[in-house]
Point group: C2
Chain length 376, copies 2
């Protein structure tokens, strides 16, 4: 993997770069659509490749491990072949899901024993077998297994948790060194900074993570309920400690405004279920603000979903029509909303990139954040 | 509306023709995807126009009348503008839905008073206001309001019901004459043959319907639970009485085999929810037979959904992948299944047309019906 920074904003820490993986190039900053169980919910691969034009998508080790399971994925020749997606895939390690989705989990130095949210069956995730699972999946970017403390956490819990994540990280790095790709593609490994909302822990964790000298670095444990200002504070501190010349990935973030603010702090990669999950429930992101499309006020508004003229994804669907579909429970509603929102997110990070390159990023960002947070 | 018969099979009553409407041409025999509430469930208009290439779709007056409602459709300038679909639309009259979906209905000479299946509100459908509703919808082919008797019905009920449907038809024809299109497109009106499973009633109804001299004629009240052999018998009798030079539409039919057999009896138009509804539940139609994709036997079958080589809709999705999506409850599963099945149905009627023109229809049909009914 290569990462080349092409442009650096003068008035913020934003940068524009290119990640080169064996399966393709990714211009940064980038937003990665979430394909939890081997599909981006409601979105066909044709749409992902053409209209949305996502250069990379996310898969979740936890979900894929449970369903379809590693045996089937191995027999298919990996997740790419199974899904027929030939661009890069990043897989989450499952750490977050083990702590948020599964029941009855038991944490030890060894790893986490948990119950499947599907059938209650018991499983162990360890720093080693999570690497092994990602080898079977064949993702281009693998993530380290971490513990994700809830918000708020008290200091001693957060410290112990961070230290465990660090020891797990060393074991994960070790496993990556001892194993290799099953399908010939080069797989890189990103460690995850933890430390909850404590400045000294975040610094310590960022320094530890940086010392592992991996191809890129991630920030976890944010956007879990803390105020946005605290999140930005943590991101800023961590970015100051992470190497400049490697991509920085802020996990699970966030709203369009969160993304622009975090780009300004030096983040290069994002993922979030918000455009698809909130889209399915009728939240439509536009360049002029946020629309709750189920609201009666859109009932006879036959204008396009985003009628600013700046953002156009080629959709001719009107607000009134999408509202009708969602209210009537028609499947096409969530489909259109998901595709629209993902196109918008990808457009937004591409615009940010263009503005970084043209030197206008910071003023554009400040103007956009105001619009993006408006409720229409 | 024009209907030109281009070819007639020598060994059956099958024919190949072209219906010309102001919004486009429809080569027959044709299958019309069902877009009940203003969308074909799970299928984008891009897919409908490109991969599926449906020249006409169906809308349901009952559903559209309740949601989004006629006021919104009128303000939008009709259903075509509301959905952004510029090809022809045929609307069902709502007769079938009033008798199958709504509750607490009360039938009288005037019409049918029913309770909405959505909120229980009371409404009256009459032969006249159902024409008015279809004027507001702006469909290219409007259907007469009819009573659809259940199967089995006794003779005296079926006769009374048929006679009511005939009186309603005369009132509907009258209303069509007294009103005109609201949006400038030419709208035609199809009457519906009823008569349950009684030969003399079907003959009488077909003769009455033929005497109305409408642009095309439909057969209703079949595929409601009766054995397929009885359905074919009724279709054959009715086709012998309906004018040769006008399109014949068999409503709500059916399986791929039903469609081929009915084409052989002289039917030109079909609609059915089967490809989408059964698709959502995992029933996949292929040129080699029917697949229950949820079956464990497909778990590691990475071959295409239809691997006969004759039918190819450009999908690269495998059986194992589609199975995984449906078992995991991923929205993309129903989407892929619906698009696959609709593409298959449209391919099948186009193949039938080609075989009629090339003079090979009957032998091809007999060979295909065997394959199509095979459970793989």
């Amino acid at each position: 993997m290569k990462f080349k920074i092409e442009s650096k904003d003068l008035h913020s820490s934003a940068r524009a770069g290119t990640i080169t993986l064996s399966r393709g190039e990714i211009e940064t900053p980038i937003f990665m659509p979430v394909g939890t169980v081997g599909s981006v919910k409601g979105v066909s691969f044709e749409e992902l490749k053409s209209r949305i034009n996502a250069p990379i998508i996310l898969g979740n080790t936890y979900h894929l491990y449970l369903r379809p399971g590693l045996e089937i994925l191995k027999e298919a020749g990996g997740l790419h072949k199974f899904m027929q997606w030939d661009r890069p895939i990043l897989t989450d390690s499952g750490g977050y899901q083990v702590f948020s989705l599964s029941g009855n989990r038991k944490l030890s130095e060894e790893g986490a024993v948990f119950s499947s949210h599907i059938d209650g069956s018991r499983h162990l995730f360890s720093p080693e077998n999570v690497v092994d699972a990602q080898r079977v999946i064949g993702s281009d970017i693998m993530m380290a297994f971490d513990e994700c403390p809830p918000y708020p956490s008290d200091y001693s819990f957060a410290r112990k948790s961070m230290e465990l994540t660090h020891r797990w990280l060393e074991r994960g790095v070790c496993r990556v060194m001892q194993t290799e790709s099953l399908y010939g593609n080069h797989q890189v490994f990103f460690p995850i900074v933890q430390g909850s909302t404590f400045i000294d822990l975040r610094k310590e964790s960022a320094e530890f993570v940086a010392s592992q000298n991996c191809s890129g670095n991630a920030i976890g444990g944010l956007s879990v309920g803390e105020p946005a200002e605290i999140m930005y504070e943590m991101v800023e501190i961590v970015c100051s400690k992470l190497p400049f010349d490697k991509p920085r990935y802020l996990m699970g973030v966030g709203t369009p405004a969160n993304i622009l603010e975090s780009i300004a702090l030096g983040i290069d990669m994002f993922d979030c279920v918000m455009p698809t999950r909130n889209g399915r429930n009728g939240m439509i992101f536009t360049s002029e603000g946020i629309i709750n499309i189920r609201n009666k006020k859109w009932q006879t508004d036959f204008s396009p979903l985003d009628n600013s003229g700046t953002f156009n994804n080629g959709f001719s669907y009107s607000k009134a029509y999408l509202r009708h579909l969602l209210v009537a429970g028609e499947m096409l509603g969530p489909i259109i909303a998901s595709i629209h929102n993902l196109t918008f997110y990808l457009w937004l990070v591409r615009e940010a990139r263009n503005k970084i390159i043209s030197g206008e990023f910071n003023s554009w960002k400040n103007k956009m954040v105001k619009k993006l947070t408006t409720r229409l």
